[in-house]
Symmetry: C2
Subunit: 365 residues, 2 copies
């Protein structure tokens, strides 16, 4: 079992990573003294697979347990859903010792964090992510969010969980595509901060795709550690430090949106966005061909896309301009100077973005 | 003009109080460098009276201006209303330099603060309270809130404004009853923290009810100063310091709720709640009769109720048990040991609460 600490003074918490450790969660929660009534937000699929283990460990710790199911889709990330869950939760919460558990992937984690942040001006919550994406990224750092029709994650808060508890044993029921999606974020951590992790991924990606527990534990705990170090320096993304976590996301989000969140999942779009960011980094003479080829090879090797298909250039550009990472009328890109070294550049000319996209688009719709 | 500072490190802000100063707001906002697009949440009545002055001062400061009207009633404090306002605001906010102005009473202030706290994980907002209750209490300290069917203020956040700007000149269009409601909170500050303010109210309440600017400026700035000192020691009400602001609110909220938020407005219910808290303080031998009579006389003199009418004892007791100030299964009362001196007591026996209420109830429904 690996434990990393995210230090934010009175808002500090542990990130616990291990294999087949879900049955120990109750013990760890008790130590936190955050309440006795667990309200678990999850989806039917996760509950069917792992709900009984979760219930048992919580009951053994003398906690009351209530499950609340939300649909397993991005549509659950809405203000209306948050409101509906809260209306249910308030019935259960009679004694002000409630806490919430997010038991699912990114959708459940983002929604739950948002709910925990606004119910009674904040109640404690625990992240128990069940996807690789959740375990390495979205469960850590306290960014909570729901979507508006006009854009994803436009409503939310910064609100830290009291514990992130990642059991890599839960990843065995993910689809390959979900696993690959999570790997895109793992690759991101290697590129922006950790050449050792990047090398590991180059050498051991087969062990990861084969779900070898030691390999999964290594990458999940390593990503947790890196993210914790970044977040504790810049919790609210105001100092330009947390910004590097957006590597690949500027164009990645635009590709996701331009494809109506259908063709590409988050990780796939981020993989493409990272390639564009590398292309721009090379055009700007920040990296040489060898680096960009290593990135592209790794992305290809784990089965993530390297070409943009059936999404048009104008649609991507338009989505890019609507993105909330626009500050004033500037865009902002995280580029790289090498594996593990980033550089933030504002106001990349549209021409350069367009050229990079063009060479990556296989078939403009 | 009086300026008090609320010190919360990077979240510090000024509380500015003056008479007929609304035309100076633009200048003060410019100094904050919080954006160029002002999105003003208000109601039709306030906009009709003071909207043109507000527009002019903001325009003179080269700010863009957009008004958004919400109904002037507690029903506006809902998640659905917050969602609807955000959907409108996102249309206006194209360049991420938006900030929000709460221009109204407590409803507008609580709703606007909540919206500002969750839109894009927090955008700057300014409180321009137009009621006495707003100016002395709800605009200061960053408690934002909307209601659920199951209870008031059950959803919200702690999110500080960037400026509180109180023009006591705006109070001239309040009804007497609204002014009296605000005075209940002013009396509260005197009782819990400031014998000088309490004396002032005893001597000068006629000047206040006659809207004499110097008297209004004095009480509003004094309350702002007191609240700032309390909030900066206990922003999130975790240290038992901010708790004293709940003096009169434990039973006051129960009376409001038991009367279905119709018979008594907030200040009236708080006046009654303060009297009950004094009664219990006397029963507990914390104060003598002279103190409780001074409080009762002042409350009566300014025209606030001293007897509970047409609300039943069981309804008040039931509402009391549903209140979110219950922690675990304990109740928590702020009592007084004298004018300006508080004592927090948990687990006051129901019998004592019941006896105090009985003697205050004129006519059980």
């Amino acid at each position: 079992m690996h434990i990393a600490k995210l230090n934010l003074k009175e808002r500090s918490y542990n990130i616990i990573v291990g294999s087949n450790i879900l049955n120990l969660l109750g013990k760890h929660i008790i130590k936190l003294n955050i309440g006795c009534d667990a309200y678990i937000i999850t989806n039917a699929s996760v509950k069917n697979k792992y709900g009984s283990v979760l219930r048992k460990t919580l009951k053994q710790a003398n906690l009351n347990v209530r499950f609340k199911l939300v649909p397993d889709s991005e549509e659950s990330k809405s203000i209306a859903m948050a409101s509906s869950v809260i209306e249910d939760m308030v019935q259960y919460d009679r004694k002000r010792r409630i806490f919430i558990i997010a038991f699912g992937g990114g959708v459940v984690g983002d929604l739950t964090g948002f709910i925990a942040s606004i119910y009674k001006r904040g109640v404690p919550y625990v992240q128990v992510p069940t996807t690789l994406l959740g375990q390495v990224d979205s469960s850590i750092g306290g960014k909570t969010a729901v979507d508006l029709i006009q854009g994803k994650n436009l409503v939310g808060s910064f609100y830290q969980p009291r514990l992130v508890f990642s059991d890599v044993g839960l990843l065995r029921t993910l689809s390959i595509r979900q696993l690959q999606s999570g790997l895109a974020e793992v690759i991101k951590y290697g590129i922006i901060k950790d050449p050792g992790l990047f090398n590991y991924l180059e050498k051991r990606n087969r062990d990861i795709l084969a779900l070898k527990p030691s390999a999964l534990e290594y990458i999940v705990s390593r990503c947790g550690y890196i993210k914790a170090k970044i977040v504790q320096q810049d919790e609210r993304e105001k100092r330009g430090i947390r910004t590097i976590l957006n590597f690949g996301h500027t164009i990645g989000h635009a590709i996701e949106a331009a494809a109506n969140y259908k063709r590409y999942n988050h990780g796939e779009a981020i993989a493409l966005g990272m390639l564009i960011a590398c292309d721009i980094s090379r055009d700007s003479n920040l990296i040489n061909r060898e680096i960009s080829e290593r990135v592209e090879n790794l992305i290809r090797t784990v089965g993530l896309p390297t070409r943009i298909q059936k999404v048009s250039l104008p649609d991507i550009i338009n989505a890019h301009y609507r993105d909330k990472k626009f500050i004033g009328s500037k865009n902002r890109f995280v580029l790289i100077k090498g594996i593990g070294k980033t550089k933030i550049i504002e106001n990349i000319p549209l021409k350069i973005i367009r050229e990079s996209l063009k060479t990556r688009i296989s078939c403009a719709a």
